[in-house]
């Protein structure tokens, strides 16, 4: 106690590209870290889902079984299973080790934009173009979803799950938060079609990106606007956004080939990281470290902070 509190390290941003991986699966529709951030998943437009070690750049396994391009994927908390959804309107539960399809949930009427496990990986929540979120039970053999959340009036572009909430963004310009504990649905009107939503890591705020090239940070409980982040370009495509590992920065893809970092509190642009000429389609932020994955075209990039020293060596 005699020692003063150590000054918190100034947040570092991943500026250094360590690796570029050509995934070889067509366009990479989404890139996702696994639960602990050691591995990543890439969803390809050639119907395949691939598991990588992004640091070493090694392909661990290819999961094939989708009938159309894979649009989103997620890993379970224990890394034992994966789920993915794609243009074939199916949600697939994979076994990581064997690469086999464990379950295939059919029922969506449109392509599945986004999938998420719940905390215990007992449910898969999938948001689809058919403007519904369906909760699939991984435990039982029921072919029907446990519940269908069809409050959205348009395509559901983003679904996020916390321990007792389901956050969804829809193209109808609303962010809906289903609170299971309270049994209530909070619907926040944003206006512009929503491309991505996410919880802040402290669970108090929701970050919403919409097609008016704006990110908004909303208070989760009241729906008040806490911050607005502009400067990037997001007018057409479904692009990802997220918060940095310590909630210090807001990160978003952009259609002009950059990744934008804003200071969360000040709202000032901290960094515009040029990735490439195309659209940065997807990004994923490491859960604990300043480490970023971006997807552009058919490849993914692995970014670390400047001070990061490669210990694994080039692979």
């Amino acid at each position: 106690m005699a020692f003063p509190e150590p000054k918190p390290r100034p947040p570092e941003l991943p500026r250094k590209r360590l690796r570029t991986l050509d995934c070889g699966q067509g366009a990479v529709r989404a890139v996702r870290f696994n639960a602990d951030g050691h591995y990543c998943l890439t969803c390809g437009s050639d119907k395949s889902l691939k598991l990588w070690n992004p640091l070493r750049g090694t392909l661990l396994r290819t999961y094939s079984g989708h009938g159309y391009e894979v649009l989103d994927a997620a890993g379970s908390f224990d890394n034992s299973s994966l789920c993915s959804g794609g243009g074939d309107k199916a949600v697939v539960l994979w076994d990581v080790a064997s690469g086999q399809v464990v379950r295939k949930f059919r029922g969506h009427a449109g392509k599945v934009n986004t999938v998420q496990f719940n905390e215990e990986a007992t449910l898969i929540l999938s948001g689809s173009l058919d403007s519904s979120i369906r909760c699939w039970d991984c435990r039982s053999r029921k072919p029907e979803p446990v519940q269908k959340l069809d409050e959205a009036r348009d395509s559901v572009s983003s679904v996020k799950v916390s321990d007792h909430e389901v956050l969804s963004g829809s193209v109808d310009g609303r962010v809906r938060r289903y609170d299971l504990r309270m049994g209530q649905l909070f619907s926040d009107y944003v206006g512009s079609p929503i491309t991505c939503t996410c919880f802040s890591r402290d669970g108090q705020c929701t970050l919403v990106s919409s097609l008016d090239s704006t990110l908004r940070l909303l208070d989760k409980d009241t729906g008040e606007l806490l911050g607005e982040y502009t400067g990037h370009k997001n007018q057409e495509y479904k692009l990802d956004c997220c918060l940095s590992e310590r909630d210090t920065h807001v990160v978003s893809c952009s259609e002009d080939g950059k990744v934008f970092f804003w200071d969360l509190v000040e709202g000032a642009l901290a960094l515009a990281l040029p990735v490439g000429p195309g659209v940065v389609q997807s990004l994923a932020y490491h859960p604990t470290e300043p480490c970023l994955l971006t997807a552009m075209g058919g490849s993914i990039q692995y970014w670390r902070e400047e001070a990061y020293a490669v210990e694994g060596g080039a692979g």
């Binding site: 321990d163 729906g223 490439g276």
Partner: protein
């Protein structure tokens, strides 16, 4: 239990003890299985049922079976050491504890010894002894025991004797009265109210004994009241057959079922003594004669039914015997009860009543008159009207009222007022003469209506008959006229209530028209309505028939509609079949929210909160308690709304237009000429190119004259394909095919044009289409704004050099984007980013790979050439049906056009540096 009874149901009587109420969550106790139902003694040891006296059986040597180690002597004590205190063992030492208990062989209970035991207690034993004596082979043997009374007397008797009491006397101080002669029949007890007749006094008077004054007598011995319970179901005082009677075979006598027991046992000896050598023992049927009996008299005839009374009757007085104890009773003949006609043996414990019962008074039935005829007939109910007076007369004649004057009505046919009239009373004014007066106006009307209906029916029947008669005798118009009159009457009344929409002759419109005309005339009250409306061209027979039909229809349906309409009402509410369940809460008033968003007033204004019911399983999977544990609802609460309302399924239309407002404004010049067949989607960015569309349509129309398949099927090249044929996935191709079909559906005229112009311009187009295209596009560019040309140029560059910066270029380039939109026409919301060729980007970023890149591109250009050639071949073959092919050709055509317009070779385009491309792109006017 008690508490339960007191508070819940006090009226009920409960037997037994109730089961313990079960605890919450406790399972009902299982019954103990048989093998565990053990019996233990007081000390908790297992009890074995052995030994014949305790309900078991002896098993093994000294009941050792079942014990732990068989039987072992309990204690062995060496007699050497303990010789001195060798105890004498009694039988108890070898007995089980059970044997000493109450029901064992040696019960150790406190009992009165024989000295103090009363004699009354072993009555059963005496009876058994008597029976044994009677059945014993030596008959008198046990009776001797009675004679030789044992010296042992109970202590009470001894004490009494010492006090001077003698057998047969009463207990108490001596009295100075005449001695009671001991009644031989002490068992007479008096019940009831009537005092017993003072028989004793009378008898004493007659006895006239000498009674000295100084002599005192012992008090009368009182037979104690027999308190033995009646524990059988026999009649009162029934004792069953007396064994002595039955067994000692008094053959000459009747068995008397009553009163056998009243003879004391003292008689027994006398009887036996009187029997004078009659054998004891069972004699009678089936028993035969014992070995000790000398004579075998009538063994087969001792029992006959004649010995029994079959009828209850008076005993013959001459006999002098009333039962088997009669002779002694007979002496009391002078007593008051002797005048009774039936004096049998008075039942034990009963005495004759002194007063006779007062006899019931009987009332004789009334005397019937002499001319009474026990026949009933039913009087026919005929109301006296003028029509049926004849019938009435007949009926009354038949019922024996022939003598009655038909003119004078019987008094039963008069009502009160008539009778009053006859009597000359003044009828009461004002007050009601009819029940109708008391009814409300409404009820009265209803009754009237009903009455009318019934009248109508009657009239209808009448009309029918009349019509028939009219039909049969058509030549007589007078009868038919009469019929019309009746119709008029009925119809006039029913016209008001007629259902106007009823069409009995709907099948035949002509007839229906005539019928309606007929009705109209009828309503106006025209007598010749029927004649007027009938078709003059009809034959007489047809006319008559129709007349009849009309009349019947009119009356029938008037009446039925009148009665039916009074019973049914119209439904007030429509069926809700056209309704559908929709969420109760709607996210509405988007306009407010829109303005709130504009003002950045997020929060309350933009937030809607709804009650939402998660599924139970969902809660379980989330490890969250169900927020609405009682509800079966899932999702949002729902209400019923109109099924066909668009607003159930869509939000208010403002939402669609408003959020996308900025974009259209930016793209305003391009927005017109919307494709009508498109599905409306607010986020569909293809709106931008709609004007483009119309123009390009025009252009393609123009082009189609020259080069049919390329421009019109889809006027622009697929940008994805252009950019990276290598990366072209089957997905995009198939998508393209899908979209193509839709595109064609929206514009079928193109095919038409193709079909018309294809063969004519085929040959030239194959060679000159590039130029044509180029010229067309040039023309287009000149016509349109400058952005267009720039875009065109950019497109060309991009297509050749694989898009240095495709994202900005793509929205600017009109044709490719349109293509994209066709591809993703069905999609809503933000699109997926296009598939870029990874190598292109890598080339930009990593210059060292450029060589490889270039080779790739060369390869690509080769491919394009090949395609061109293929296409030309195809054109020659006139194959433009396959959509995919046409698409491919169109791709190549666009590339060709750009090539031609740039008038550059592939190489030249390839030489274009990325910087140059960027520069060009920057020159492009941005969309927004």
């Amino acid at each position: 239990m008690a508490a339960l009874d007191s508070d819940s149901d006090e009226d009920l009587v409960s037997y037994g003890t109730g089961l313990e109420p079960l605890e919450e969550g406790e399972r009902p106790k299982k019954p103990i299985p048989l093998q565990e139902q053990t019996v233990r003694d007081e000390k908790g040891r297992y009890k074995r049922f052995h030994g014949a006296f305790s309900g078991g059986f002896s098993a093994g040597f000294f009941n050792t079976v079942g014990s732990k180690e068989g039987w072992t002597p309990s204690t062995f004590v060496s007699s050497r050491q303990h010789r001195a205190d060798k105890s004498v063992l009694g039988p108890e030492d070898f007995m089980d504890e059970e044997d000493l208990s109450e029901f064992g062989i040696a019960p150790k209970a406190i009992v009165t010894t024989d000295d103090f035991a009363s004699k009354t207690k072993d009555r059963i034993r005496e009876k058994a002894r008597q029976l044994a004596a009677a059945t014993a082979p030596i008959p008198g043997a046990i009776l001797l025991d009675d004679l030789i009374t044992p010296a042992k007397l109970s202590i009470g008797v001894e004490l009494l004797r010492k006090m001077g009491w003698k057998e047969g006397q009463g207990v108490g101080p001596r009295v100075k009265r005449r001695p009671r002669r001991q009644k031989p029949d002490p068992g007479v007890k008096i019940y009831g109210c009537a005092l017993p007749p003072g028989g004793s006094e009378g008898s004493e008077d007659e006895d006239g004994d000498y009674l000295p004054d100084h002599v005192t007598f012992a008090p009368k011995d009182v037979t104690p009241v027999d308190f033995t319970l009646k524990d059988n179901v026999h009649g009162l005082a029934y004792k069953g057959l007396d064994p002595r009677q039955a067994l000692f075979g008094t053959s000459g006598e009747h068995f008397n079922l009553f009163g056998g027991g009243s003879e004391g046992p003292s008689n027994l000896l006398g009887d036996v003594g009187l029997s004078k050598g009659r054998k004891l023992g069972i004699s009678g049927q089936a028993f035969g004669v014992g070995a000790l009996e000398e004579e075998d008299d009538d063994i087969y005839a001792t029992e006959t039914l004649s010995k029994y009374d079959t009828v209850l009757k008076d005993e013959e007085p001459g006999d002098g015997l009333y039962g088997w104890t009669a002779p002694r009773q007979y002496r009391n003949q002078k007593e008051p009860e002797r005048d009774l006609r039936y004096v049998g043996k008075i039942l034990d414990g009963f005495s004759l009543a002194s007063k006779p019962l007062s006899s019931k008074k009987l009332y004789p039935p009334p005397q019937l008159p002499k001319d009474y005829r026990p026949v009933h007939y039913f009087r026919p109910m005929v109301a006296a009207t003028s029509e049926n007076s004849h019938l009435l007369q007949v009926l009354s004649e038949s019922s024996g009222k022939a003598g009655q004057d038909p003119g004078t009505q019987s008094r039963h046919q008069l009502n009160a007022s008539k009778r009053g009239e006859l009597l000359g009373e003044i009828p009461i004014q004002g007050s009601a003469t009819s029940v109708l007066e008391f009814l409300s106006q409404k009820d009265r009307e209803r009754i009237k209506e009903m009455k009318q209906a019934s009248d109508l029916k009657a009239a209808q029947a009448k009309a029918r008959s009349l019509a028939q008669s009219a039909a049969s005798s058509r030549t007589q118009p007078s009868t038919s006229d009469l019929g019309h009159c009746s119709w008029h009457m009925t119809l006039g009344r029913g016209a008001a209530t007629r259902a106007s929409n009823f069409k009995p002759f709907a099948k035949d419109p002509e007839k229906q028209k005539r019928y309606e005309k007929f009705l109209a005339h009828m309503q106006k009250g025209q007598n010749d309505a029927l004649e007027q409306c009938l078709d003059p061209s009809m034959t007489e027979w047809e006319r008559g028939r129709e007349r009849e039909e009309f009349a019947r229809a009119a009356q029938l349906y008037v009446s039925s509609s009148a009665t039916l309409s009074s019973r049914f009402t119209h439904a007030k509410e429509e069926d809700d079949s056209d309704q559908v369940e929709v969420p109760r809460d709607q996210e509405n008033d988007v306009s407010d929210k829109q303005s709130a968003v504009k003002m950045k007033m997020f929060g309350k204004l933009t937030r809607d909160t709804f009650e939402w019911h998660p599924d139970k399983l969902l809660c379980r999977r989330f490890n969250v308690p169900d927020p609405y544990p009682g509800s079966t609802l899932v999702g949002l609460p729902r209400v019923k709304r109109d099924k066909y309302s668009v607003f159930n399924f869509l939000t208010v239309p403002e939402t669609t237009s408003v959020p996308s407002a900025p974009a259209p404004r930016a793209k305003a010049p391009q927005l017109q000429g919307a494709d009508k067949s498109r599905k409306p989607s607010r986020w569909d960015t293809s709106d931008q190119e709609k004007k483009e569309d119309s123009i390009s349509e025009f252009l393609s129309l123009a082009r189609s004259k020259v080069g049919p398949p390329k421009p019109d099927s889809s006027p622009s090249g697929n940008k994805e394909d252009e950019q990276g044929p290598a990366a072209l996935s089957d997905k995009t191709v198939s998508q393209g095919v899908d979209s193509q079909t839709e595109g064609e559906a929206s514009r079928p005229s193109m095919d038409l044009f193709k079909a018309i112009f294809a063969n004519s311009s085929d040959e030239q187009s194959s060679s000159s289409e590039d130029e044509h295209d180029a010229s067309e596009s040039d023309r287009e560019e000149t016509e349109e704004a400058s952005p267009k040309s720039a875009q065109e140029a950019a497109l060309g560059e991009a297509s050749v050099t694989q898009g240095a910066e495709p994202a900005p270029a793509e929205p600017a380039a009109p044709f490719p984007i349109q293509k994209m939109q066709i591809d993703e026409r069905e999609e809503f919301g933000p699109r997926l980013p296009p598939v870029f060729c990874p190598y292109a980007r890598q080339k930009l970023e990593t210059p060292h790979k450029e060589k490889h890149k270039k080779s790739k591109e060369k390869h690509k250009t080769k491919k394009e050439h090949r395609r061109k050639r293929e296409k030309k071949k195809k054109h020659k073959k006139h194959t433009h049906k396959s959509k995919q092919k046409s698409k491919k050709s169109e791709k190549s055509s666009s590339s060709e056009s750009t090539e031609s317009s740039d008038s550059q070779s592939d190489e030249g385009v390839l030489d274009l540096s990325p910087q140059e491309l960027l520069r060009r792109l920057k020159r492009l006017p941005l969309r927004r």
